[in-house]
Symmetry: C2
Subunit: 461 residues, 2 copies
């Protein structure tokens, strides 16, 4: 597909008022003008799951270059970085051996240590919360496998994940410090699906690195029920490959302001890598597709006053791509007007979190008006985060906004084999593209600087 | 119903560990041991809507005294205060007069000025957001009725209300400052119901106090659609009574720690007053019923180490009862361990927001464990608010916790004629009682002081 060359007007007023322009691009997204569904279908069908360090991720990088080029993006290129420790799953198996021989649905956690070659078999000690594990005495888990079976609360904001995921991250070292030989968590998930949900864990320096895995929700409940009646024994076998200094990539495409290359730049994007069990559809093929589609809608309209840059980050799930990007672009920070990552699923969006004070600026009154029919409100009352890949830029002082999708169903499938293309609703995805396009249209056509607001807040006592 | 006299053990250890005791009271709530449904049914059936200053509110006060006494609460009494300006709705009517004669579903906003005796008839100026109204020039609305038709976003946390309700509160004075003769808002509501949603507004001192009302969602959309084609004219007639220095009441009942009257006191409650169109079921008969039921479950168990006090606030909707309570109990503040209001509907609860740092205290590990099966997580990352009636106590330094129910459907019916008993799900209400009972059980049987945590945070730079 060929897009007419976009030239940005340096002094000429835009053809439409900023609000009307944003509404036009919004309505195009809602009426079939977005490429998001086709991009997402292509990525999930042609590449599938793509952990950093895997052959699939290499193919994903090539796919991204080809796709951005075909869609008419300018300055399409790959930025290399090194992933210190890429973790790839090997064969793994788990089962209950007592009181009954039963299969268990499970998945090793990312970065988990492998079991010894013969595997591990031990009695399970069950805890109903991370706090109950914390209260266990040192040595009390000697020779046992610890299971924390703490349910995750379904929330719209994803806040329930923030609370529950501490089990996955901190659990292994807390269990090891009390003598455990392996760690199991109930899947950090809201749905009833049998499929286990993986995700990264981490180890503290001062305790043994014990193997760590997630059980399916039903399997964790089963172990807990049986453990209330007597000893439950589980056998675990896990292997994995740790690739030191693996090659990794952020892939970039731009809609430039040609008339003024020194114009400020807006960075948006999603992450291209994903976990291995599924297709990486909602996490984060959706973010890739939404931000590409929104930027393309802008490219098809009148010239912009700022550059729009789409960055597809190459190692979000176990970290590294955001830091690499911030490091490589440190000198460019003063030109970066705004950065935002789409990493909360396939929509619909419901909340745009701006830095403190920004929403009260009359220059943004029209932004609220253009977002209102999408049922998106603006707030400055949310702790800024904006996605893992944004942390490096945020620390460097780039204004970050967080655009939140309704995550009520996201954690039913996230990080599991169920994260596939069919789970995405076309209307929700298009509403997300419309929201991102409104934000981009507004800020790429306005002179508003979000930075002074950030400073004003930061300098308050 | 007679409850055995409860004596609190001063030094004797409780019969069960704190966690086990909390789990016992939780499971009683979940298995039919709660009086919440019967209390809510009684209040909504026997009293109905009960704005402060109305005869119904006087009957509600008497109902509360009788109910608390019958349920075995101790020290049941009424605390009088004066409501400076109680507002009661009089006859009101609205219709479209051009381009078509059509009825309009509408409701005057609480504290609205009346129309002149002959009513107001004028052309409508439609705005799609509060920001669009703000951007209108001074004088541009001269002789017109302003309508802000800004949709409210459905959120689990109720955050969408916080964003949308600014239209109801600030809209009338913003419109008046631009010359408008009356103000209409789309109902601040998430549902498609035709019934209008009322609620309090307020006036700035320096602009005319123009009549203000809410249109039904469908009616606001209708006016906007027709206004896109040509002038729309609306006729409004509103009357109301403002009672200066109306008698008002907070009603109190206790589960005392008899062995040590100087033991700390935990204050919980809901608000007894409600808006007039409905029965005040989810707002806030639910809070009344939940907190009464949770405290009664505690009263039926082993002796407590602290006093539990239920306060039914008598003027939340237009303000006054929280301030009156804090003023009357200023000297008692050092003994108030904790205060919390249930005012986010009939459940289910999903989030317990504690003051910063509290959840990390090992004394509360069991609280997380007892709440986990209810799918309630603990956070300290929510801006403390805890309900309007808590503001006075919070300002006085009493630790406040916020126990949040899922509000996804709450604003479909809130402040409208649809706020009736049948909307409440028994299982959700009982889950809420279980959550409150766990919190109460934990804190009424522990020595944990939430105040040092508050001070520690407050004293940080």
């Amino acid at each position: 597909m060929l897009i007419p060359l976009v030239l940005c007007a340096l002094a000429a007023p835009p053809a439409l008022s900023t609000t009307a322009g944003a509404e036009k691009v919004r309505d195009r997204a809602l009426s079939g003008g977005s490429v998001a569904v086709e991009v997402l279908q292509s990525l999930t069908s042609e590449i599938g799951g793509r952990p950093v360090g895997s052959p699939a991720m290499t193919r994903a990088k090539d796919w991204a270059v080809k796709k951005l080029t075909a869609l008419g993006f300018q300055n399409v290129h790959v930025e290399d970085f090194t992933k210190k420790d890429a973790w790839l799953r090997g064969p793994e198996a788990a089962s209950m051996t007592a009181p009954y021989g039963l299969p268990l649905s499970f998945s090793g956690l990312g970065k988990s240590a492998p079991t010894p070659p013969g595997g591990i078999e031990a009695d399970v000690a069950v805890f109903r919360s991370l706090e109950e594990l914390k209260a266990a005495a040192p040595g009390s888990l000697a020779g046992r496998i610890a299971l924390v079976n703490q349910p995750m609360t379904r929330t719209q904001s994803g806040e329930g994940y923030g609370s529950a995921v501490a089990v996955r991250g901190a659990g292994p070292s807390l269990a090891a410090a009390r003598g455990a030989v392996a760690f199991l968590t109930r899947s950090i998930a809201t749905g009833p699906g049998r499929a286990p949900h993986t995700g990264a864990t981490h180890y503290d320096d001062d305790v043994p690195r014990i193997p760590a895995a997630a059980l399916g929700v039903a399997d964790a409940d089963l172990v807990m029920r049986l453990a209330a009646q007597g000893p439950v024994r589980v056998s675990l076998s896990m292997s994995s490959t740790l690739i030191e200094n693996a090659p990794a990539w952020n892939v970039v495409g731009e809609v430039p302001c040609r008339a003024n290359p020194k114009a400020g730049t807006i960075v948006i994007g999603g992450h291209l890598d994903s976990w291995d069990p599924g297709q990486g559809a909602v996490d984060d093929g959706a973010g890739v597709a939404i931000t590409i589609a929104a930027a393309k809608l802008l490219a098809e309209g009148p010239p912009l006053k700022r550059n729009v840059r789409v960055v597809l980050f190459g190692s979000e799930e176990t970290g590294g791509s955001g830091e690499a990007y911030a490091l490589a672009h440190a000198a460019e920070v003063p030109q970066l007007v705004l950065a935002a990552e789409s990493d909360s699923g396939a929509g619909p969006l419901y909340r745009l979190a701006l830095p403190k004070g920004v929403a009260a600026d009359p220059a943004l009154f029209g932004l609220a008006t253009a977002l209102a029919p999408l049922r998106i409100f603006i707030t400055d009352d949310v702790a800024e985060h904006g996605g893992s890949d944004m942390e490096g830029l945020m620390d460097a002082g780039v204004p970050i906004v967080e655009f939140d999708a309704d995550a009520s169903r996201y954690f039913d499938i996230h990080h599991s084999a169920d994260d596939t293309f069919d789970k995405v609703e076309r209307a929700d995805l298009e509403q997300s593209v419309a929201g991102w396009a409104v934000l981009l249209s507004f800020l790429a056509n306005s002179a508003l600087d979000l930075r002074p607001h950030v400073d004003a807040v930061a300098s308050k006592p």
